[in-house]
Symmetry: C2
Subunit: 152 residues, 2 copies
DNA sequence: TATGAAAGACCTAGACT
DNA sequence: AGTCTAGGTCTTTCATA
């Protein structure tokens, strides 16, 4: 990965769904060269995919919550992690260091749906011993972007 | 937003950087009609953007952490939220209900960078009274996807 | 690895339904 | 809102440097 690759990624991070030639023009290269580089970045796993960012409010997912889920037996983490990951409303599942717990981020319609998930999909998992829910009232920033420093 | 729009969004959520005609073929419509719909979805704010998902490990951002930041004076939230959002390594900033605190998600290279951020960018903010850091050891799921139910 | 050429695919505006 | 058409643009492979 050289500076040109970083430039390409920086452009795609701003707007992934643009023509190849536009990327090529921006960095002053032939489209075929840019295509080859992007393909290599995809093949090597640097680029993991291209996503649309949708407005959650318009899909009954206005409410963001984080839940810390404490588990009685750490051996069960993989199964529980997968079970939580399988819930549509759950966007993230992380295994946290030092406290025998998982952190999940989810988006639901409202309190009612949150309660329902807690009761029927989370607290009813055998090994789950407790949960601690934090609800977000507003969001200042939410992005998967990684700052790319070309000079490095 | 009708079922056709939902179908289009479902396709774009799988892979945003695909030709318009391919979307059109998949749902059995003329490309121009699909183009028009996508433009409307963009204009109305349903589609907020198109992102590349990069492999964080390859950009010195292997470590994920969540920090709860307690603030002495709730009046200061907007400024602190913006200050935190301005940090490159910070991917999310949420204002939490009920505990006078902010939740941030960040990606850093290692413990050293995390410590440096805590000392020089977070704890040195006047109104910040305490922080509670949780480090993710592994991640089961991490996505901004919203499940789209076509039948609805 | 880059360019340039060329064939084929795609985009998109506009006429029309 | 959709289809169809058509010119212009973009993609992608390949020969070449």
């Amino acid at each position: 990965m050289d500076k040109i690759d970083l430039q390409i990624l920086q452009i795609l991070q701003k707007k992934a769904r643009i023509p190849n030639v536009e990327v090529a023009r921006t960095i002053g290269m032939a489209p075929s060269a840019v295509l080859e580089r992007i393909k290599k970045l995809e093949a090597s796993g640097v680029i993991q995919g291209y996503e649309v960012r949708l407005n959650a409010d318009m899909f009954h997912r206005a409410m963001v919550a984080f839940i810390e889920i404490t588990v009685s037996d750490p051996v069960d983490f993989p199964e529980i992690g997968d079970a939580l990951a399988a819930i549509d409303q759950v966007q993230e599942v992380h295994y946290l260091a030092g406290q025998d717990c998982l952190m999940i981020k989810l988006r639901v319609k409202d309190n009612r749906e949150l309660e329902s998930l807690l009761l029927t999909r989370i607290n009813n998992i055998q090994a789950v011993s407790s949960t601690r829910t934090r609800i977000a009232l507003s969001t200042f920033k939410e992005s998967a972007k990684i700052a790319i420093d070309i000079t490095s």
